[in-house]
């Protein structure tokens, strides 16, 4: 699970949970793999992100590096910044661990890079 994907996930489907976002991350295994930098893609995805969630997620697993905590105004022209964003979004992967519902503490396993968000019947 890359941090870009983490940005999109919620546990709000749990009975009694309202927002369920952002999910906490317990990372047991992290893999960092270089992937091709596509600045145009990074520029298109940034406006869709919840930046706080991205930064906190990266920080909680020790990979925020020197990624800025908040987006600056003219990031579009800052190639160094876009590369850092690319790295955190697409190159840091949680292979094994857990996602944690912020409201109920319910844990969702991440196995071989795949989070399992399925619920038991009594949780719906």
């Amino acid at each position: 699970m890359k941090l870009l994907t983490h940005n999109m996930l919620t546990s709000k489907c749990l009975k009694g949970v309202n927002v369920g976002y952002p999910l906490g991350i317990v990372a047991k295994d992290i893999k960092v793999l270089e992937t091709e930098f596509n600045s145009e893609f990074v520029l298109r995805i940034i406006p869709k992100l919840d930046w706080d969630t991205l930064w906190n997620a990266a920080d909680s697993i020790g990979h925020s590096g020197d990624l800025p905590r908040t987006l600056c105004d003219d990031y579009e022209n800052d190639v160094e910044f876009l590369k850092k964003a690319h790295h955190v979004l697409l190159e840091v992967e949680v292979i094994n661990g857990e996602l944690v519902c912020p409201e109920s503490g319910r844990k969702f396993a991440i196995n071989k890079g795949i989070p399992n968000m399925l619920l038991n019947e009594d949780e719906l």
């Binding site: 890359k2 697409l90 399992n116």
Partner: protein, 213 residues
């Protein structure tokens, strides 16, 4: 669009996951026919629900490359693992999440391309729910009444999922009553058109596409 290699899969895998068939290939053909539209739209996020072997989302990920983030979802954990392997062996990036439809998805109106080849076969309703085991193969095709029970749960979520210019591709058969689906989606604010259709072995398959009116 190249059809991904599935040479790593065998009969043993197909006992647990959906083996690509005419419906899968018709969907790939439809997406290929729409490829210029898709490339022009520059989708940053593409999601396939019910990826099974991963044949469809891998083809899409290969065609769009690093220009978009492709995500595969399946309720069957075995299918999720296989999808991941299919993407890797075809040298492309697909993120995989095990979930029921889009129930664990937080992002509103940020999916540019949504794809679903659902379980569409007309079966008794119990066949969907009876087999509580998520890995059960019945879920790959059992659609319940009119074959609509799984896809009908997704339709009301589509307005909250798709981005402004996003597109939703759906595989159906004539028994699913495409005219009625058109009416349902019209009420939700979407236009429908048929991208491709094919009659094979007594099944009339259609790939429908929905965009905002």
């Amino acid at each position: 669009m190249d059809t991904p290699s599935l040479s790593h899969l065998s009969v043993k895998d197909y006992a647990q996951i959906y083996e690509p068939a005419e419906d899968s290939f018709l969907l790939i053909d439809a997406l290929e026919q729409d490829l210029i539209f898709l490339q022009k739209m520059k989708p940053s996020v593409c999601v396939e629900i019910g990826s099974g072997s991963g044949v469809v989302i891998t083809a899409v990920a290969k065609a769009l490359g690093t220009n978009s983030h492709c995500i595969a979802i399946d309720i069957n954990p075995v299918a999720c693992g296989v999808t991941q392997r299919t993407a890797q062996l075809n040298h492309t990036e697909v993120e995989v999440v095990t979930m029921d439809l889009m129930s664990g998805f937080h992002w509103d109106n940020r999916i540019d391309v949504l794809i679903f080849n659902p379980p569409y076969v007309v079966t008794p309703s119990e066949e969907i729910l009876e087999n509580k085991v998520y890995g059960d193969i019945t879920r790959a095709w059992a659609g319940g009444e009119r074959g609509r029970e799984v896809m009908d749960r997704l339709f009301p979520m589509v307005p909250n999922l798709l981005s402004l210019y996003g597109a939703f591709y759906l595989v159906v058969i004539s028994e699913n009553c495409p005219d009625d689906i058109k009416r349902v989606m019209d009420e939700l604010g979407f236009d429908m058109n048929i991208v491709k259709e094919r009659k094979v072995r007594g099944e009339h398959l259609l790939v429908l596409k929905f965009v905002r009116k």
